[in-house]
């Protein structure tokens, strides 16, 4: 009977357009949208020289050090920061007004001044670089034994060669991956919707099919478990395809342990199925309202886990316990720990927490199911 019902439950699921859309199509559509929207966001971390202008007037021509310094940061090569246009002040103003440049530099009273239109990253880089050049010139003036041009130039050259002893131990990371991890969490949570539908079919007070199941001479637990198993298989296959699609087509990094990745997706899906069953047996209302509750639990969980712009830290400070019990938060953090941490202990904490949450949902569902008694339907 188990396999018989499993087969038909599976067949009816894949024939349900709405469920196929939510569990199969929707996460893929979102993954593509995420990829389109966030692709350049990460590329922004790769520095590209940007356009600035320098007011090429008498003051600039007289100041050999500024000329040499800007020439070095404006020449193609590893140290290039800017694409520089040397123009008069009116033209620089006009270029700035028409957004052709990010800002311009002019020399007045032997000091470099920067003019920008609005604040921004490139403007900060321009200000920082100009400030550094000014500080080097000041140091050269200060350190030169005499104030002759040759002596200052020598000092400036030696300052430019100074290499502070900085040891960088940073890890290469991409915060955008969190968006994709929350998306997998969301796809797992769609399992709750499948579970609501499948459990409703077995409950006599919620559907006609449930009434037939209740009067049929079969074990109700077999009917329910086989239906949920069919939903779970469908969910897990769709999750597997989603992860493969993200990794191989969209290039999302997950770490190297494919077994752990799939195990987390499997446990995430299971937790969502248990949540759906709990909602279905607890709320004696129609399926649409239950689905709204699933959507709310999913979206709030994903938002707190970092979806739509990496706000996890903000919400962690606001409500530190939430992501430790929310299935979406635990799934996202599990994928994050596989990607970011070498030690798998955090991954296992998330995995076992998820299992514990699933167990609680299951226990509550069974308790509510066992309480149900019907004098008449």
């Amino acid at each position: 009977m188990f396999w018989h019902n499993f087969k038909y439950a599976f067949k009816t699921l894949i024939k349900s357009k709405e469920l196929v859309f939510w569990t199969l199509a929707f996460p893929f559509i979102l993954a593509v949208l995420f990829n389109l929207a966030f692709a350049r966001l990460h590329d922004y971390d790769v520095f590209e020289p940007f356009n600035i202008a320098i007011v090429d007037d008498e003051n600039f021509q007289e100041n050999v050090f500024y000329r040499a310094a800007f020439n070095s940061v404006g020449t193609a090569g590893d140290e290039q920061l800017f694409n520089i246009q040397y123009v008069d002040k009116d033209e620089a103003e006009s270029l700035l007004e028409n957004d052709k440049i990010e800002g311009f530099v002019y020399i007045a009273d032997a000091e470099a001044h920067v003019k920008i239109k609005t604040n921004g990253t490139n403007q900060t880089v321009l200000k920082t670089a100009t400030e550094q050049i000014s500080q080097y010139v000041t140091m050269a003036d200060d350190m030169a034994e005499d104030k002759s041009f040759i002596s200052r130039a020598k000092v400036l050259e030696s300052i430019a060669k100074v290499e502070p002893n900085i040891k960088e131990e940073s890890k290469v990371m991409n915060v955008v991956v969190i968006e994709f991890y929350t998306l997998i969490a969301m796809a797992c949570m769609q399992g709750a919707m499948l579970s609501v539908e499948l459990t409703n079919r077995c409950l006599p007070n919620l559907s006609n099919r449930g009434k037939r199941v209740a009067t049929a001479p079969t074990r109700k637990s077999t009917m329910l478990v086989s239906s949920l198993a069919a939903g779970y298989v469908m969910l897990f296959v769709s999750l597997m395809f989603l992860i493969l699609f993200m990794h191989f087509i969209l290039g999302v990094e997950f770490g190297n342990n494919i077994g752990f990745i799939l195990l987390l997706a499997a446990v995430g899906g299971l937790t969502a199925m248990m949540l759906g069953m709990l909602l279905s047996v607890t709320f004696k209302t129609n399926e649409a309202v239950k689905n709204v509750i699933v959507v709310i639990v999913t979206m709030v969980g994903c938002l707190f886990a970092g979806m739509f712009g990496g706000m996890k830290i903000y919400f962690d400070n606001l409500c530190p316990w939430f992501n430790r019990v929310s299935p979406a938060g635990l799934i996202t953090d599990g994928f994050y720990s596989l990607y970011y941490y070498e030690d798998p202990s955090r991954y296992f904490i998330n995995l076992f927490s998820l299992l514990a949450v699933a167990l609680i949902f299951f226990a509550l569902s069974v308790r509510n199911l066992r309480k149900a008694r019907y004098d008449s339907i």
């Binding site: 949208l33 520095f47 103003e93 990253t121 920082t128 500080q135 502070p164 990496g310």
Partner: protein, 383 residues
């Protein structure tokens, strides 16, 4: 009157779902806006730095930590390394600087001590590294002059205090309105989701085959009925709009919203609300199933929000995506929000691009109404 009554009767029947959806989506937008978003905002600000000082905080070490405190936001309270690693990943902390033991002596005697750093990724991290590198380069260079620790600290401070004068051409405080732009741009999703879900929920009840047949044989003209329904949908949409504006007043403050800028933001969102209403009206004619509406709503609302810059600012979107976004009304709505932020004056020339975008949105409204009427008439024949 009968149509209006039926409309609000159905709305009242679903009042729980309506309130739940509207409140959740609007709160969702508000929370998103309130949260600081380091990964998609590149405004110039002091980097958040954590210092691990293994040396005594005296002499050159104190000079270094004072310099960092002046040029960065010093963060504390990270209980363990995992906590710090998370903060670096999520860019809550941009740089971790570990000052070695005997740093102050080593710097004074020109020994170039090793300073360990850990940085997050991105521009802010690069700029934070420049802050540290600049201090150490200056210190190492001056240390060659064989100065006393006090003299050395004085020279470094004097040099590094030299700041470049920055003149900002724009007279508008863009920071003040950037929050408002983000709030109203996110409304693209909130408005579309709230309006489409609820209007379709009500309209689908009217479009059920049996109900439609009953309406068709009744004395009421179908176009008149559509007009009445559209009017009631507009009243609901205005309710959503007013709710969002009221929340905006709390989140953004009265000084931002009760101003000429606020008026343009509000009018722009009102036009978009009307556009969303006509989109919802059109979808309700095309789809007969509530679950299908939910799917379509998510594709339309999320798709347009991602592609037009509601979640990620338009300047960070690939050019090809932005080129495609031009066919969506959301693009013109979000573009207007971005333009308002940089508006310097309110003369016709400055306002013209905003008016043009508004006219394009109104043209979309007309197209959606015409399309709805055509489809409605076709369905009338089929029925």
């Amino acid at each position: 009157m009968t149509v209006s009554k039926a409309f609000w009767k159905i709305a009242l029947k679903n009042i729980g779902t309506i309130i739940m959806y509207t409140v959740i989506l609007v709160m969702f937008g508000t929370m998103n806006m309130s949260a600081s978003n380091s990964s998609i905002s590149y405004e110039a600000k002091k980097p958040a730095i954590v210092i691990f000082n293994n040396d005594e905080n005296v002499g050159m070490t104190k000079n270094f930590t004072d310099y960092l405190a002046k040029n960065a936001e010093i963060k504390t309270g990270y209980i363990d390394d995992d906590h710090l690693k998370d903060a670096l990943f999520y860019e809550d902390v941009i740089l971790v600087v570990e000052i070695p033991k005997y740093f102050h002596q080593d710097i004074t005697f020109g020994r170039n001590p090793e300073v360990k750093i850990r940085a997050s990724s991105g521009y802010s991290a690069e700029l934070a590294k420049v802050v540290v590198k600049r201090y150490l380069s200056t210190a190492v260079a001056y240390a060659k002059m064989n100065l006393s620790e006090e003299e050395l600290a004085g020279k470094i401070s004097a040099t590094l205090e030299k700041e470049t004068h920055v003149e900002i051409a724009s007279k508008v405080d863009t920071a003040k309105y950037s929050k408002a732009t983000r709030y109203f741009s996110f409304a693209n999703y909130t408005i579309l989701a709230c309006v489409i879900t609820i209007i379709c929920l009500i309209m689908i009840s009217f479009n059920r085959l049996q109900i439609r047949k009953r309406n068709l044989v009744s004395s009421i003209d179908i176009e008149k009925m559509n007009r009445v329904l559209l009017r009631n949908c507009c009243i609901y949409a205005i309710g959503v709009w007013l709710f969002y504006l009221a929340l905006g007043l709390i989140v953004l403050g009265a000084d931002v919203l009760i101003s000429a800028y606020g008026l343009i933001y509000a009018l722009n969102s009102l036009i978009f609300c009307a556009c969303a209403t006509t989109i919802a009206f059109l979808i309700s004619q095309l789809v007969a199933n509530q679950n299908a509406v939910n799917g379509l709503m998510n594709v339309v609302a999320l798709g347009s929000s991602f592609l037009c810059g509601a979640f990620v600012p338009a300047e960070y979107l690939p050019d090809s995506v932005l080129a495609f976004a031009h066919i969506l009304p959301s693009y013109y709505y979000i573009d207007n929000n971005n333009r308002v932020m940089n508006l310097e004056s309110f003369d016709f020339q400055s306002l013209w691009p905003i008016i043009l975008n508004a006219l394009i949105m109104i043209a979309y409204i007309a197209v959606f109404i015409i399309a709805t009427n055509i489809i409605s008439k076709k369905r009338q024949k089929i029925a």
